[in-house]
């Protein structure tokens, strides 16, 4: 068993375990920490696939930012001790089954190795990916305009989110 398969199995276990904790825990805070574990595992998958930029972004944005946002959101929410209603489970179940079907289809339609990246097919690692991304961002023919529009999108998200948060906060303004 090569080191890559071992790493894949460890990461897969961590990701799935984090997901199970997220879903089954009765405490929302535990769910948030489970989600953190799961997202870290996904970052590990990106490393295995040779995309270190994506892995770092995953850790910086999702693990470091979004989960912290969730934690604050959780602290704002009074604990929900109610039993889950049948209707809620049914709706969630439909979405879960649909996602599972799509995922299984993708897994079984996949060519090449199921863990990690084929040496002759994947991107070269060692900082090459991020340089490629940077060059694509700065290329007029490629993603220069989307790069700038992304900043407008972020601006809209910031203003909108802060506006909604301020109104929901009620007092003060």
């Amino acid at each position: 068993m090569s080191a890559e398969i071992l790493a894949f199995l460890v990461l897969a276990t961590a990701t799935v375990a984090g997901g199970v904790v997220t879903l089954w825990s009765r405490y929302v805070v535990h769910s948030a920490f489970g989600l953190m574990l799961s997202l870290l595992g996904v970052a590990g998958f990106y490393v295995l696939l040779g995309s270190d930029f994506l892995a770092v972004t995953q850790v910086v944005v999702y693990v470091g930012g979004v989960v912290v946002l969730y934690l604050f959101g959780v602290m704002l929410t009074p604990p929900d001790r109610e039993e889950r209603s049948i209707r809620r489970i049914a709706v969630a179940g439909i979405f879960a089954v649909a996602a599972l079907v799509v995922l299984l289809k993708a897994v079984f339609g996949m060519e090449g190795r199921w863990y990690g990246v084929d040496p002759d097919r994947g991107p070269a690692s060692g900082g090459a990916v991020i340089r490629e991304v940077g060059n694509a961002f700065m290329d007029k023919e490629a993603y220069l305009l989307p790069f700038e529009i992304a900043s407008v999108l972020l601006l809209v998200a910031l203003v909108g989110a802060v506006f909604i948060a301020r109104r929901e906060g009620g007092r003060g303004s």
């Binding site: 080191a3 890559e4 790493a7 490393v47 040779g50 930029f53 770092v56 972004t57 910086v60 944005v61 470091g64 930012g65 979004v66 912290v68 946002l69 604050f72 959101g73 602290m75 704002l76 929410t77 009074p78 604990p79 990690g116 990246v117 040496p119 994947g122 690692s125 060692g126 900082g127 991020i130 340089r131 991304v133 940077g134 060059n135 961002f137 700065m138 220069l144 790069f147 700038e148 992304a150 900043s151 407008v152 972020l154 601006l155 998200a157 910031l158 203003v159 989110a161 802060v162 948060a165 301020r166 929901e168 906060g169 009620g170 007092r171 003060g172 303004s173």
Partner: protein, 163 residues
């Protein structure tokens, strides 16, 4: 694929093991006398009178939102910074536009007072506090600002202190 990430994996596993190994070694030598009192919530020596599941102030959430947006900005600027030197003036101008647009957002939240932790102060209500005894409204505003656990908590603390 070169496995430079082995270093990270070793550091990760080592860090986790360090914590649990220490706890295990300590469990061998420490005395073990569990009691109900030791498991109760510690609240500055007072007896806990409410659940610790209290709602936090909205301001934490607003700050976290702002943080996530600028976190994403960094994620976008990182590849830009890597190729910056090789592209010269174009990269400089484009980066300036990108940061400039987001600076508008920072300016917006700053001007609207979302970055002020205690909004009541930013709105010019502080002179009331300085001139005389604070009005009920101002005190309420300060207590609810999230500096302390909320008005109930403070009130409870005072009562317990005077009795």
């Amino acid at each position: 694929m070169s496995f430079d990430y082995l270093t990270i994996a070793v550091a990760l596993v080592g860090g986790i093991l360090f914590v649990y190994a220490n706890m295990w070694i300590l469990s061998l030598v420490r005395p073990n006398k569990p009691s109900d009192l030791k498991l109760s919530t510690y609240e500055c020596g007072e007896e806990a009178f409410s659940s610790s599941w209290l709602r936090f102030d909205m301001r934490f959430y607003t700050v976290a939102l702002i943080f996530v947006v600028f976190d994403l900005e960094i994620a976008f600027l990182f590849p830009w910074a890597v190729v910056y030197r090789s592209l010269g003036i174009l990269a400089f101008v484009e980066g300036l536009i990108f940061v400039g647009i987001l600076f508008l957002g920072l300016f917006y939240v700053w001007a609207k007072g979302d970055l002020d932790w205690v909004k009541a102060f930013a709105k010019g209500r502080i002179p009331e506090v300085l001139d005389g005894p604070p009005s009920r409204e101002v005190r309420k505003g300060v207590f609810e600002s999230g500096l302390s656990g909320g008005p109930e908590r403070n009130g409870g603390g005072e009562e317990a202190g005077t009795s």
